[in-house]
Amino acid sequence: MQKEPLLEIRNLTIHFHTFEGRARVINGIDLVIGKGESVALVGETGCGKSITAKAILGLLPPNAEVVSGSILFQGQDLLQLKGEELRRIRGRHIAMIFQDPSTALNPVFTVGEQLMDVLVHCDDQGSVQRWRTRRPVAMLRQRCVDMLRLVRIPDPESMMGRYPSELSGGMRQRVLIALALLQRPELVLADELGTALDVSIQDQILQELKDLVRTQGMSVLYITHNLGVARMVSDRVYVMYAGEIVEVALTHALFRRQFHPYSQGLLAAVPRLIGSIGEGIEGRIPDYVSPPPACRFEPRCPYRMPVCCEVRPPLREVESGRWVACHLYPASGGDSS
Amino acid sequence: MAETILVPQEIRATRREELRRAWSRFRSSTLALVGLGIILMMAAAAIFAPTIAPYPQHAGGFVDFANTFQPPSRAHLFGTDDVGRDVFSRVLFGARISLSMGIVVLSIALAIGVPLGLIAGYWSGWVSSLIMRITDVFLALPSIVLALAVAAVLKPTLTNAMIAIAFTWWPWYTRLVYGEVLSLKQEAFVEASRSVGAGPWRIVFKEILPNTWSPIIVKLTLDMGFVILVETGLSFLGLGAQPPTPAWGTMIAEGRIYMPANWWLATFPGLAIFLTVLGFNLLGDGLRDVFDVQIEQWRGGA
């Protein structure tokens, strides 16, 4: 890993308190995003990808509990931050592009007002000084319009006065991107970007975002269940299964060869590129309240061995830049986990 | 509703399963249980009034002028009124009136409102639009205002108050059933039975009607409280029960003039109304959660 890390997740464990009991949803994951790097987090629906993203921003639902771990951002542990400190990180340093453009925009405010609110209320000075040093509205407005233009929205001036319900899905998605990028964050979390859209529009938007972050020098974490997306936009891929990272690899390397049986299963389903992963693999994601004791993939694994239900396979570097959590692969150079 | 087509047995099976789950959800709601408790208590008071009431004869035209205005005591839990009757006994008997009032009014409303709603919802044409326009007329006025107008036309008696309220109440059920039918009509299982050649009456009564029960039951429960409020309001204005009938609204109207010195006359019947209505509201809320129906509880009632 050449690049200097921007975000480092270490041994993150998150449990949810549910009626059925304690759900061990995120089970000690590690994840690193370097400066200017595009990383994809792939896995089938319900494997904990979005939770991971929300944990970074401190937006976990009230019944979630971070049991252990740390999320270091520029050396600062986000998990230790209090409400107000965390709020200053959000948007300004780390921003998220939400999954569903039809619900993530507030239906009763115009695009312009939502953009302006971000600039007005998330100002550097914080709320109290805002009243004294209110920057000229026109200037803020210009910034919003510029941003809309940047995300390739036609006629951004008139777009400012429109309500989300007047826009097409693609436009809404672009507005969401604009909202996230408005404060020029160092890190963008893109949650299932474009999934709700038409394939061609999805591709277009992904391509644009890819170019955009590259020119702006931002880092991106793409969260997706679609390997095709990961292949298109990311430098490196984290494969996640049932709240655990099972394989980490450079994107091109992963597509050349998959080590983890789950990754193999994923790719087996890929030919269609758009098809969601997991379809090719028998079974379902395990119950988080009482997950398999050791390897969580064991019940679905075609290569399962007795050890698989006794010892949890650690994430080990099996070749340079390739980490796998599977008993099939011994570590390349000693046990590094 | 699921997209899959279910055959009737399966529907029944799922319904049973749903009911079981509903009951466990219901049991976990303290407030709904409290409501049920209150209502069972009131119902018990109403049914067993002649046995529980310390002075059952006081519910009628009994007078004992030597014993008027006794404050609450062990002999008279709620005191005595201006002609020496035991207020506690009268409040107990009052439960009979209010509850039976609610049941009768809502039965009438159901009997008129549901068939009309089914007709208007299932068939389209001038008959159904006429029905719906008529309900619009009734709903254009807060129901207590309409009930007042009707009650004023009739002689002031309990029966007439009942008629007046029922007269204003049925359109709500027509409305409710109409809405339900409109959406159920599109459901796959209805389409399915239509495709196998079931006649419209069969579809309406066998397929659609059973599926409208849960919102109707929730609404009925909530409405019991509202009907009681409207009835007591009419009685309070002198348009309902006549003496010596121990109706709660009448008791408040009669006792009110002796406030504040003889506060117990109006206070206890008022508390009884409050508790009963509260009970039905709690239960109705609980049922609404259980059946997971959205019904507007907003009406121009009392």
Binding site: - | G61, A66, P244, E254
Partner: protein, 528 residues
């Protein structure tokens, strides 16, 4: 939580704010009635509220002798009068210098106009005069002399003139609108809803029928003004008893009328600063039996009911003190017959009479109607129900608004079997409670819900009215009373105490007994 407590604190703060400190300075005398003023036109006034308004805004021709505590007529607008020996011609000399609120002097023309107006409009108390007067029979002999030529001698005539209010002819005629009285249009009745045309001590400042009449002192009132008399009156209508009590207790009202419940007055007696005045009244409380409706068309049934009723309980426990009524005429009215038979409770006799009547038990089903706002009448009804059920009747009780009872009274078919009525003396004469209640000419009004008809009685009553000699008059009126009571058209329950409550700084209240005349604000002074 903090925000929530804040809200609560705010609420408490708003409520605890000394709002009372902003209440109005007590310059206006507040009088409370529980019945609305149905007519501000004195020629249409029949009820107590309307009469109180009339007495304060207008002057009647004669006035009761309040100073002597009597209801006999004394000079007022008329200074003196003479009566012809045949009792048919009355000549009145008017006082000079009486000014209407318009500033015009009151003259004989106005008296003639006002009486003709009353006779033509046929509203209010005009029925007292219509048997003996018609337009043309009243003449202005000169500016200050008026002559009334009656068709025949009429015993209650002088007394009836207490109800004859004089209106400003010019003012009324200037304000007529099209109406049913030919050249007189509506006789100014619409105008009199907004203003008055009187010469009385107060003038109408504002009138809102449902809630309030405000009256201000007429500075040029002919009887003059002394210190501490009331300069402004707010005459309010408040129907709810609990509210009335609160208003007087808190001092927001200075005087409240007689229609509170007996218990209400008992309660007010306990309050320091409030005077409850109780006087034996000339009111009759009776339960009229509809003699045209079976089974009450049977005299034995009516007598049985009269024997069954528990008078002692009614008087001691419900009225909390009252005089037992002996016949239709209140016992304090001159001309009352002390020898009339009195029914007392006797269940055995009652049962015997029911048996003798021959009415089968299943037909003994009757309805009792009462004024829904009067709890006393409800209590009487419950007592009656208990008493009658003892002798085999079935009784249904029904509360009705007063207006509805008036309406029901118009026909024997709609009139309930038994109706509770408080009947105050209408004019200071025994005639009011004999002829006025038991002569068939009065049928259709709430005073005659018995629809009583006995040719003998009718004849005696008519003779009594025509009698010129006072002794003869009295003999006949007393005979009538005896005959009426035998037929038991009513359950004569009580001559109740008249009660009124006021703050102790109100002086000069005196009970007169005539409808409305005790609340003449001119008579009161404020001593603070």
């Amino acid at each position: 939580m903090k925000r929530f407590t804040g809200l609560l604190l705010m609420l408490v703060g708003v409520l605890a704010f000394p709002w009372g400190a902003f209440s109005q300075a007590p310059v206006t005398f507040t009088y409370i009635e529980q019945q609305i003023i149905t007519a501000s036109d004195p020629a249409a006034a029949v009820d107590e509220s309307s009469l109180i308004a009339a007495i304060n805004l207008y002057d009647p021709l004669l006035y009761p002798n309040v100073e002597k505590g009597s209801m006999e007529p004394r000079p007022h607008v008329a200074e003196s009068w003479t009566v012809s020996p045949d009792g048919k011609v009355y000549t009145f000399k008017l006082r000079r210098g009486i000014r209407f609120h318009s500033g015009r002097e009151l003259t004989a023309e106005d008296v003639v106009f006002s009486m003709e107006r009353a006779l033509r409009m046929k509203k209010g108390f005009s029925w007292v005069w219509t048997p003996v007067l018609e337009p043309g029979r009243i003449k202005a002999l000169d500016k200050y002399t008026v002559r009334f030529e009656l068709k025949e001698a009429y015993a209650p005539f002088l007394g009836s003139l207490l109800l004859f209010f004089i209106l400003d002819k010019d003012l009324v005629m200037r304000n007529i609108r099209p109406g049913p009285y030919g050249e007189f249009g509506d006789y100014g009745s619409a105008f009199l809803e907004r203003a008055d045309a009187g010469s009385g001590p107060y003038r109408m400042e504002r009138f809102d029928r449902a809630t309030e009449m405000v009256m201000t002192r007429f500075e040029n009132y002919w009887r003059g003004w002394k210190p501490n008399q009331i300069s402004r009156v707010s005459f309010k209508t408040v129907t709810e008893e609990a509210t009335v009590k609160t208003l007087i207790k808190s001092g927001q009202a200075d005087m409240v009328n007689q229609w509170l419940s007996v218990q209400g007055f008992q309660e007010l007696k306990q309050v320091p600063g409030i005077v409850v005045k109780e006087d034996p009244s000339v009111q009759l409380f009776h339960l009229q039996m509809n003699t045209k409706k079976p089974p009450l068309d049977n005299v034995k049934v009516r007598q049985a009911i009269s024997y069954a009723f528990d008078y002692d309980t009614a008087i001691q426990k419900i009225f909390l003190g009252a005089t037992r009524a002996r016949g239709p005429v209140p016992v304090r009215v001159p001309g009352w017959n002390p020898k009339v038979p009195v029914y007392t409770r006797n269940v055995a006799t009652a049962k015997r009479l029911v048996a003798e009547s021959g009415v089968p038990p299943e037909r003994l089903s009757i309805e009792y109607a009462y004024v829904v706002t009067l709890p006393l009448e409800r209590q009487i009804g419950l007592l009656l129900k208990a008493n009658l059920e003892e002798i085999g009747f079935k009784v249904e009780i029904r509360g009705e608004p007063w207006a509805r009872i008036v309406e029901l009274a118009t026909k024997p078919e709609t009139t309930p079997h038994i109706t509770a009525i408080f009947d105050t003396l209408k004019y200071p004469h025994v005639d009011s409670h004999t002829y006025g209640m038991y002569h068939p000419s009065c049928w259709g009004t709430f005073r005659c819900m018995s629809f009583y008809e006995n040719p003998k009685v009718t004849q005696v009553l008519e003779a009594a009215r025509r009698a010129v000699k006072p002794e003869e008059q009295m003999r006949l009126y007393q005979l009538a009373q005896e005959l009426i009571v035998r037929d038991a058209p009513s359950i004569y329950v009580a001559n109740p105490l008249h009660r009124i409550a006021f703050r102790d700084y109100v002086k000069g209240y005196r009970y007169v007994g005539l409808l409305g005349f005790d609340v003449a604000f001119y008579d009161f002074t404020i001593a603070r």
